[in-house]
Structures are given as structure tokens and as C-alpha cells.
């Protein structure tokens, strides 16, 4: 896989010992969550606790509900049963709470979802200026800081339509980071990209992981999962079927469904 060349093992300094796990360190807590689309029970009894600084990779066959689950965490989708508590705030119909949660949770989409009528810089400063009320000057400095970090400061005054896919996705990551989120959600951030671009985006994500960002990442980049993730979660038919450390997960999958999936994806 592309990631094999992209990220060498020693680049990742995951210091697991540093993670003190206590109740106050819970970033996301999902308890007995169900979701229906009409009559269709997409998500069934999802239970997932994510600690601060944890990096979780979610994989599973198409249609298994990965996107739906991750989108429930910032309420792009509504759940009908059970509880989702993000950063100590429970997601209900309370719009104010939802906005509070969304401010703290960044999301990166498969198709970038940049705003095509705004420049890269404006894409990055929009939310800080309007949601966080950051002064424009300061927001711009901060945006440039993050654009440098994703290695495209020279594109700041271009429009999204003038950038390559990989560059657009890195802008999308920078745009999320400009809100200083405590949690980042990634929904197949590389699956619309060419191999070369996959590499540049994954490098950015690895950098984030090294800094201790809490990350939930739906991806089929198994190399990335193996090197960055604390835990890998496997979903099938709307349920979490298996959950393990990457090495255990890849080398000794327990569930039949997981074995089949891995054999298909790793050939």
C-alpha cells in the first residue's frame, strides 16, 4: 500500500505510556447508540469510549455504517436511541450544545467540502472570525501558520478550484485546525485521491497524531492504521464487530468477517 513508503515506522513516536486513562480524560463516549434511516436500522447498539489523545481507526466493508457513526459525533446525523457525549456535552436537540460541540470537533470529508467561492485563506479564517470572533489579523496569522504546517502557504490566495486534490484536502485539514479543535474526525480523507496525493495527506495526518490530537479516522489505509492507531475498530452491518490494537487486529483477527475483509483488502 502507498502508506508503506510514505511513513516509516520510526517516524511515529507514539508514547503510550504517557496516556493516563481516567474518567476526566474521556473525549467521546457513545453508549448504546442506535440510528435508523426510516425503517432501516443503520447503527445498532454502538458502544465506544475514546480517550483524549487516542487515535482510532475505523474500517469495515462499504455500507457498514462507518460514515454514519462518525457523522453522529458532530451531529451531522441525528441518532435516535442511546447517548453520545462529546467533550462532556451530551448531544440532544439543543442547538446551542450542538454548536458548542461542533466548535471543538473538526471534520475532514472525503470530498473536501471547501468553499469554492472563497480563497484558501478565507476558507481558513471564516469560522475563526465568525464563530470564535477572532480578530481578522490574528485569524489570518493563525491560518498561515496552519497552511505552513500542511506545507501549502504559497497557495493562500488561490481558490480551491485551482488546487490539486491532495492540496485541497490539506487545506481542508488546515481549515479544521484553525478552529483549534480538541477532536478531529476524518471520513475517508484519502479515498478520492491519487497515490501520490494520498501520501502528502497521510503525512499531514501523521504529524497531527504525533502532536497528540484525538483522532477518529475512517480509512482503508492499513499502513496508516498500523503505525498511528492505538485501536482499530471493525464495523459490519451497523455494529462494531471487533476492536483491538493494530498489531493484534491485523495479525490475529478473531472474527470471521474481519478475516475475510482483511484478506480482501491486503490481498
Amino acid at each position: 500500500m502507498a502508506i508503506e513508503n510514505a511513513v516509516s515506522a520510526d517516524e511515529i513516536k507514539v508514547d503510550r505510556a504517557k496516556m493516563h486513562i481516567s474518567d476526566t480524560d474521556v473525549a467521546i463516549d457513545i453508549v448504546g447508540m442506535h440510528k435508523w434511516y426510516g425503517e432501516f436500522n443503520v447503527l445498532k447498539d454502538i458502544n465506544l469510549r475514546v480517550m483524549r489523545g487516542e487515535r482510532i481507526v475505523i474500517c469495515g466493508p462499504s455500507g457498514s455504517g462507518k460514515s454514519t457513526m462518525i457523522r453522529c459525533i458532530n451531529r451531522l446525523e441525528e441518532h435516535q436511541k442511546g447517548k453520545i457525549i462529546v467533550d462532556g456535552k451530551e448531544l440532544t436537540n439543543d442547538l446551542k450544545k450542538i454548536d458548542e460541540v461542533r466548535r471543538e470537533v473538526g471534520m475532514v470529508f472525503q470530498h473536501f467540502n471547501l468553499f469554492p467561492h472563497l480563497t484558501i485563506l478565507e476558507n481558513c479564517t471564516l469560522a475563526p472570525i465568525w464563530v470564535r470572533k477572532t480578530p481578522k489579523k490574528q485569524a489570518e496569522e493563525q491560518a498561515m501558520h496552519f497552511l505552513r504546517r500542511v506545507k501549502i502557504p504559497e497557495q493562500a490566495n488561490k481558490y480551491p478550484g485551482q488546487l490539486s486534490g491532495g492540496q485541497q484536502q490539506r487545506v481542508a485539514i488546515a481549515r479544521s485546525l484553525c478552529m483549534n479543535p480538541r477532536i478531529m474526525l476524518f471520513d475517508e480523507p484519502t479515498s478520492a485521491l491519487d497515490p501520490e496525493m494520498i501520501k502528502e495527506v497521510l503525512e499531514t495526518m501523521v504529524g497531527l497524531a504525533e502532536e497528540g490530537m484525538t483522532m477518529l479516522c475512517v480509512t482503508h489505509e492499513m499502513g496508516f492504521a498500523r503505525k498511528v492507531a492505538n485501536r482499530v475498530i471493525f464495523m459490519d452491518q451497523g455494529q462494531i464487530v471487533e476492536e483491538n490494537t493494530p498489531s493484534e487486529f491485523f495479525d490475529h483477527p478473531r472474527h470471521e468477517r474481519t478475516k475475510l475483509f482483511l484478506s480482501q483488502i491486503l490481498h
Binding site: 454548536d99 458548542e100 461542533r102 470530498h111 468553499f115 469554492p116 464563530v131
Partner: protein, 385 residues
């Protein structure tokens, strides 16, 4: 051929060469654009014949034979018709347009008070032109002046009755003044109201949605003439006796509401074209509904439907002529009214007056159209790839 025989590989880069003569110059242009193939050639020849049939008589009538000066109908009538022109003469009677120009512009607005209209016109141009030019700064202030301050000042100046200005009743207004007032108010009201209605129609709140749908479908389902007629004849029946509403004001409201309904549907078309990902991108950043709508969705949606919006504006501009139904006279109305002026009635007056009115309408509509095309190009950020 040996493997090392690479004579077909260039050893140095080729220099750019001038294009072959056939590709350049007027002859090439004509060949490419007018006579590319037999079908094109036939179309071109037919087109040229039509132009050749229409253009010379038109130029002859409008410029060469035309009567430019004169004080009454005798200048535009042949001897047999009681005028001074030779038998068989046919030319535009610009003398008529010249003599009635003031009326065409402001209707029966009192002569001594016309400076007020001129002052309003100057303010209108002085505020509109910088607003339309993207490079001029202070857009916010300019917009506030044009959309909020100007209507009030213009209203005071035109209507009067305060600050020592004599009162000029709206039935005295006419001509281009009425056309432009109706269009200005119609456009300024219908765009924001139309946007709100379009948002309302897509709202998740059932009551808001239902009210928007009912309004749009009702107004859109009846002819403008009916709306105007009802506004002037039916409305007073519902109002308590003694309460009277200015007829012109009623027309303004009627036209504005009518245009809003159309505008709402145009804008809704644009809203529907915005991908779901844009909403989700905005949501995921924590933008509120109004921030999302105002900063992300509307700028993109409105840009997409500029042609539709301008189409509605142009339709509105021309529909103002329908105020004749409530015996108000816009430019076209005043021109038609003057056909029957015995001092000027001649076989040439109607066509001259109508051509003049058409020219004025065309100038405004063409201006709007060109400006919208210019804006479309300017706002194009190349995201369509």
C-alpha cells in the same frame, strides 16, 4: 533500420513559426466564421439578405428622411395631410419626441418643480455607478446610502409637502420617472424578499414553509394586471371608509410582491444546486444557520442564478407599463397618451414615439444584461472543473 537510428528524434527544440496566412487576417476570419461549410454559407447569405432588406429603409426613415425640428404636426405631415412635407414623404418625427421629451421623462410633474426630479436622478446615478464598480471602496456605506438613505431623501424630494417643498401628487407623476421608481422599488424589495421566501420554502419549519409556498403559488398564479387591478379597486373595499391608500403606493406594493414571488423561485433554483457537502462543511465548523446561509450558501447560489435574477429584473422593468390599468402612465403610457395630442397627431408620430420608447427600454435592459455578464465573469473562481 538499426536500433540506433534515431533520426526522428529532435536534437534541438523547434522555434515557434508564424501561423499560416490562411489562419489569420480578415479573410480567414470570414472563412472560419461565416463560410465554414455550405450550410453556414447559405445561412450567412440569407442573413445578409435580410439585413440588406431591413437596414437601408430603416436608416432612411430614422436618419435621412427624419424631421428633427418643428413646433407642431405640420412639420411631420405631407401637404395632403395638411403639412409641409412633399407627397410620399416618410420619415421619423423626432420633432415630436423633442417637444414632448420633458413629459416622456416625468409625465405631468409641474414644470417649476422638475429640478427636484433632476436632483433625484443625479443622486441616483452618483450612488449607483460607484456601487456597480467593484474597484470603488466603501461598498457598505455606499449600499446603505443607496438602499436606505436614498429612498427616503428621494421620497421627500419627489412627493414634497415638507421642508417648504410643495406637494406633488403621485397621479401627476409619469414617464420614465414612474418606470424607474417602480423598477427601483420592485428590484430593491423583491431581491431580499425573494431570498427570504426561497429560504422559507426550503425551511424545515412547517409553518414558515407553508406560508412561503402559499404566498409564492398564489402570487405567481395570477396575472400582474389582476394584482394591480385588485390593489387599486378591491383593496379600498376591504379598508375602512376614509382610509385611503395612495394609488401609486399600491402599484409599488403590487409590483414588488409580484416580482418577489418570481425571484423566490429563481433563488430556490440556485439553492438547490448547492451540494450537500457545502452545508456539511459549514455545519462542521460550527457556523450558525444564518452564518451558513449568508456566508456559504447564498453567495454561491445567487452567483449561479444571476442570469435568472436579471431576467426577472428585466421582466419587471418592462411590466411596469401595466400600471396603465390603474391610470398611471409610465414611459410607454405617456408616449401613447401623446399620440392623440391634436397638435402633433400625424401618421408618423406613433411610430416615432414607440421607437423612442423602445430605444430607452432597450438601453436599460441591455445595460442590465451586460452588467450581469460582467459580474458572472468576475465572480467566476474556476470551481467548475
Amino acid at each position: 533500420m538499426s536500433q540506433n537510428d534515431l533520426h526522428y528524434v529532435r536534437t534541438e527544440m523547434a522555434l515557434p513559426q508564424p501561423a499560416p496566412l490562411r489562419e489569420r487576417g480578415p479573410v480567414a476570419w470570414i472563412r472560419k466564421n461565416l463560410f465554414a461549410n455550405p450550410f453556414d454559407s447559405v445561412l450567412t447569405i440569407i442573413g445578409m439578405l435580410i439585413v440588406a432588406m431591413i437596414l437601408p429603409p430603416l436608416i432612411d426613415w430614422a436618419l435621412i428622411q427624419a424631421q428633427w425640428t418643428g413646433t407642431d404636426r405640420t412639420f411631420c405631415a405631407t401637404v395632403a395631410q395638411g403639412g409641409i412635407q412633399p407627397e410620399g414623404w416618410s420619415g421619423a418625427c423626432w420633432a415630436f419626441v423633442n417637444a414632448k421629451f420633458g413629459q416622456f421623462m416625468v409625465g405631468r410633474y409641474p414644470f417649476d418643480e422638475r429640478w427636484r426630479v433632476i436632483l433625484v436622478a443625479i443622486m441616483f446615478v452618483a450612488l449607483l455607478v460607484p456601487l456597480l464598480m467593484p474597484r470603488v471602496p466603501y461598498k457598505g456605506l455606499n449600499a446603505v446610502l443607496f438602499l436606505l438613505v436614498f429612498p427616503v431623501v428621494a421620497g421627500i424630494l419627489l412627493i414634497g409637502g415638507v421642508l417648504g417643498l410643495s406637494h406633488v401628487e403621485t397621479p401627476l407623476w409619469g414617464g420614465l420617472l414612474v418606470t424607474l421608481t417602480l423598477s427601483y422599488v420592485g428590484i430593491v424589495v423583491s431581491l431580499p424578499l425573494g431570498i427570504l421566501l426561497a429560504l422559507g420554502r426550503r425551511s424545515k419549519m412547517p409553518v414558515v414553509k407553508m406560508l412561503s409556498v402559499i404566498f409564492i403559488e398564489t402570487v405567481r398564479g395570477v396575472p400582474l394586471i389582476t394584482v394591480l387591478f385588485m390593489a387599486s379597486v378591491m383593496l379600498p373595499l376591504f379598508l375602512p371608509a376614509g382610509v385611503s391608500f395612495d394609488k401609486f403606493l399600491r402599484a409599488l406594493i403590487g409590483v414588488s410582491l409580484f416580482a418577489s414571488a418570481y425571484m423566490a423561485e429563481v433563488v430556490r433554483g440556485g439553492l438547490q444546486a448547492i451540494p450537500k457537502g457545502q452545508y456539511e462543511g459549514a455545519d462542521s465548523l460550527g457556523l450558525s444557520y444564518w452564518q451558513k446561509t449568508g456566508l456559504i450558501v447564498l453567495p454561491q447560489a445567487l452567483k449561479l442564478v444571476i442570469p435568472g435574477i436579471v431576467n426577472t429584473f428585466i421582466g419587471l422593468f418592462k411590466d411596469t407599463s401595466l400600471v396603465y390599468i390603474i391610470s398611471m402612465f409610465d414611459l410607454l403610457g405617456v408616449v401613447r397618451q401623446n399620440f392623440s395630442d391634436p397638435a402633433w397627431a400625424s401618421p408618423q408620430t406613433p411610430s416615432s414615439g414607440l421607437v423612442f420608447a423602445a430605444l430607452i427600454f432597450w438601453m436599460f435592459c441591455f445595460g442590465m444584461s451586460r452588467y450581469s455578464i460582467y459580474m458572472e465573469h468576475r465572480l467566476d473562481t474556476g470551481h467548475k472543473r
